[in-house]
């Protein structure tokens, strides 16, 4: 099966600084791919390149068979930024209905998306009156409402209580089971084990592109956090990324 997203030799500069160094990876369709790495490693930049809002220096990003950011992709790709990007002076329902309209969907889909993130009871509240976690979920609802084939989520579980986090992850897997491709970034390594596939990013370089099981085998440790550390040591020790 063709990859949903293929990144080839992607180089991104921000000012004089190079934030992504010839990153290459592929994201299989219908799975949850985790993009893991510490804060400042370039995760958000890579995700922005995938949704086509990042200026890139060189390299290519192909999404669902087309160059990232193509007009035809805009109804097929959903993007949730790290900071909740919804209108604080509108209610949850008004936000969801606006984004539903942009994707050619109606009020019923908007209500379903709100229910899917567990915000039905807060649907009539202004977003500015919600807690941080609720705002994040409102933002997620506005992406779900378009029923995208590729869902790009930048740190969607930050600030959520553990119960909600587990619920959201099971929701992600439900979506993947139904055929949606998900890319989920996180800086929390304990979320790595929930992913079907893992991309490990550090200082703008891709350290690993594998399944959690492969990563454990390769590094000889059951703990993914330790696996990540051993990859970091290996790359620093040899100056080479382990194959």
């Amino acid at each position: 099966m063709d990859a949903a997203v293929t990144v080839t030799d992607l180089v991104v500069h921000r000012g004089a600084r190079r934030v992504l160094h010839e990153v290459g990876c592929s994201v299989p369709p219908g799975q949850v791919t985790g993009l893991l790495g510490p804060s400042g490693s370039g995760k958000s930049t890579l995700l922005r390149a995938v949704v086509g809002v990042q200026q890139v220096r060189s390299g290519s990003v192909t999404v669902l068979g087309r160059p990232a950011g193509s007009a035809a992709l805009r109804s097929r790709v959903g993007y949730v930024t790290q900071a909740p990007s919804v209108y604080a002076d509108l209610t949850v329902r008004e936000n969801a209905r606006y984004f539903a309209a942009l994707y050619g969907r109606g009020a019923a889909e908007a209500d379903a998306a709100i229910a899917a993130v567990g915000l039905s009871e807060a649907a009539g509240q202004l977003v500015e009156d919600l807690s941080g976690g609720q705002r994040g979920r409102a933002s997620l609802a506005c992406a779900l409402v378009g029923e995208p084939e590729l869902l790009v989520l930048d740190e969607p579980t930050v600030g959520l209580d553990p119960v909600l986090r587990v619920e959201l992850w099971s929701r992600f897997h439900d979506l993947a089971a139904a055929g949606t491709t998900l890319i989920v970034s996180s800086h929390v390594m304990d979320e790595a084990g929930r992913c079907d596939r893992l991309l490990l990013l550090r200082d703008g370089r891709l350290l690993s592109d594998s399944t959690p099981a492969q990563l454990r085998t390769r590094t000889g440790t059951a703990d993914l956090e330790e696996a990540f550390l051993s990859l970091v040591h290996a790359s620093e020790g040899s100056g080479q990324v382990p194959a």
């Binding site: 500069h13 921000r14 000012g15 369709p29 219908g30 922005r48 949704v51 086509g52 809002v53 990042q54 200026q55 890139v56 950011g69 007009a71 035809a72 992709l73 805009r74 109804s75 097929r76 790709v77 959903g78 993007y79 930024t81 900071a83 909740p84 990007s85 919804v86 209108y87 604080a88 002076d89 509108l90 008004e94 606006y98 984004f99 309209a101 942009l102 994707y103 050619g104 202004l126 506005c142 378009g146 029923e147 995208p148 084939e149 979506l175 139904a178 055929g179 949606t180």
Partner: protein, 263 residues
């Protein structure tokens, strides 16, 4: 989930998405009661102040009342200034809150977004102009020879110009501080040179030339035409056309400066 759906092509302009965006902007406005109150009341209140300032100043025989001249001009200046400010701040908020970046990943096109803003604030300006014109002719005895509907029309076109320039200016503002300061940069020179302070014929040649390319000049001339003749004049329609054209040009430039890919 919808892996089998065919992609909908994104049209450069979609009336449906423009309408959805305009109604979203109006909904945001509706939740902000104080802004709505200020939009509706402030121009009338300021016009009242101008009325009081000139109410006891005698005018030379045969000359129009000073308030009639200035008050009428202000009916065009208020919507321009207010909508410029409101729009540039609203667009800056889209930028800083991340909603703009998100919108650019949806099927909404850039012209849809900008026209949606134009339609929403144009509608708000129409309501504002109706209130201000009604108050001006009833409470302040503003004397207008021509039809009042034309005054409202010119006010709305002025507002559209303010919206378009506000959208364009917001592209060059990194912060609210900068956005607010674009107001005097864009608005005051046009106000100084529009012929209200000093008749345009008395300006130095080069200042007249500058005045000739500033759209507010035509808005003010259009209002004077309505103030002086009982029927719509050809000059007035040309003026309205020039202001509307300038608004469209600014909107086009705003769309061109709205980058989908940023750093």
């Amino acid at each position: 989930m919808t892996a089998g759906t065919t992609p909908r092509p994104t049209a450069p302009l979609s009336p449906r998405l423009t309408t959805a965006t305009a109604s979203r902007v109006l909904r945001q406005l509706r939740h902000d009661h104080r802004t709505v109150a200020m939009l509706l009341v402030l121009p009338s209140a300021l016009l009242g102040l101008l009325y009081l300032i000139w109410s006891d100043v005698p005018t030379a025989p045969g000359q129009p009342e000073t308030f009639d001249r200035i008050g009428l001009t202000m009916l065009g200046v208020f919507p321009f200034v207010v909508m410029f400010l409101v729009t540039s701040i609203a667009m800056l908020r889209e930028r800083t809150s991340g909603t703009l970046e998100r919108l650019l990943t949806t099927p909404l096109s850039r012209p849809d977004l900008l026209l949606g803003y134009g339609a929403a604030f144009g509608l708000a300006a129409a309501v504002q102009a109706l209130v201000t014109v009604t108050v001006a002719v009833t409470a302040y005895d503003l004397d207008v020879a021509g039809p009042l509907a034309l005054v409202v029309l010119i006010a709305v076109v002025d507002a559209a110009l303010g919206v378009a320039l506000g959208l364009l200016a917001s592209a060059f503002a990194r912060s609210e501080f900068q956005a607010v300061q674009f107001m005097p940069v864009i608005v005051l020179p046009q106000f100084f040179l529009c012929g209200l302070l000093v008749p345009r014929e008395q300006l130095a040649g080069w200042l007249q030339a500058v005045s000739d390319v500033l759209p507010l000049t035509y808005a003010v001339e259009a209002l004077r035409e309505v103030g002086a003749s009982t029927e719509a004049t050809g000059t007035m329609w040309v003026d309205v056309g020039v202001v509307a054209g300038a608004a469209l040009l600014a909107l086009g430039l705003a769309a061109a400066t709205l980058r989908r890919r940023t750093n």
